[in-house]
Symmetry: C2
Subunit: 187 residues, 2 copies
């Protein structure tokens, strides 16, 4: 980071710290993007593999694609998985080109914030349908189904949980990028 | 903004533009925070006033608090309304104390990102239950209710729509704060 070509900036009476070109969170950023990738893949795989058929005695299957909420969830986290791969490469290129780094960090905040909105809404959407499946709603006569589709509901629940984790990772990504940019502003 | 006491910073061969202490988005920030306040109040009021009782012939009321999803939505947007008032004052104080501005912008990004997560998930949560009320789900025998509770569903739909608008405003707030901080980094 010392060879950025940026001039040393000393503004006030306190000596400039070693981090005068900014705190470097690149490693955390890469770790979090890998975690987001892992969480996205896990949540999609767990939800897609949750299909279950019960015989009452007629075979009645439960599939994630029967609910638009779960379809949206799978679509959102598939996009998040792809997004985390692309931004990992962008993040790596930012390490190699420090003079572009601030610009890239700004773009990463922009898109990370969009992803946070998508992932949080997808988690909420799937979570509320999962809750209805678990508890039902007597006011609307929507009966619970999780005592019948036990495996399906376990998968949905785990998937939503991992999705929540992925949303929090995206939040941390925004925090880290914002802090990186902030540390480059002269005091 | 000219009386910040910061030394003029001229780093490269190109002349420093007039905005060498950063682009000032304070006005947009305040406008957006007011929009977030208006959207929060509107979505809460519209949802809370949607209660409807139909006689089939037994009286059967529909209230937002019968669904945990709508309760979460009302709670989240009540918090957002309060949050927008508090951060409006923080944003105003940042205009008066320009030397603290970058620090305040960083804190605003942190909390705006948290609010974005909460509001997006609340919108998704309420939206998916509203969709179930509108369309039902034949796979789980959850019948639609919106052909009976027409006024209730109109209120819920409008409230979720305004909530989506509020979430997008929060996204814009993050973008603006990030861009403000970025513009203060010396090129």
């Amino acid at each position: 980071m010392a060879s950025t070509g940026d001039p040393e900036y000393k503004s006030s009476s306190t000596p400039a710290p070693a981090s005068s070109v900014g705190v470097d969170h690149s490693k955390f950023d890469l770790i979090l993007r890998f975690l987001l990738f892992a969480a996205s893949v896990a949540s999609v795989v767990v939800m897609v593999t949750g299909n279950q058929t019960v015989y009452l005695p007629v075979p009645r299957p439960a599939k994630f694609r029967y609910s638009p909420a779960f379809v949206y969830f799978v679509a959102a986290f598939s996009v998040a998985g792809l997004y985390s791969i692309i931004t990992t490469f962008i993040s790596l290129s930012a390490i190699r080109k420090p003079n572009l780094k601030t610009k890239l960090l700004l773009h990463l905040i922009f898109w990370d914030a969009v992803m946070l909105g998508i992932l949080a809404s997808a988690t909420g959407t799937a979570g509320s349908v999962a809750y209805l499946g678990l508890k039902g709603n007597k006011h609307t006569d929507w009966h619970k189904i999780c005592h019948i589709y036990d495996k399906f509901c376990r998968h949905i629940g785990a998937s939503v949980g991992v999705g929540l984790f992925g949303s929090i990772v995206t939040l941390l990504l925004i925090w880290i990028s914002a802090h990186s940019i902030h540390s480059r502003v002269p005091k």
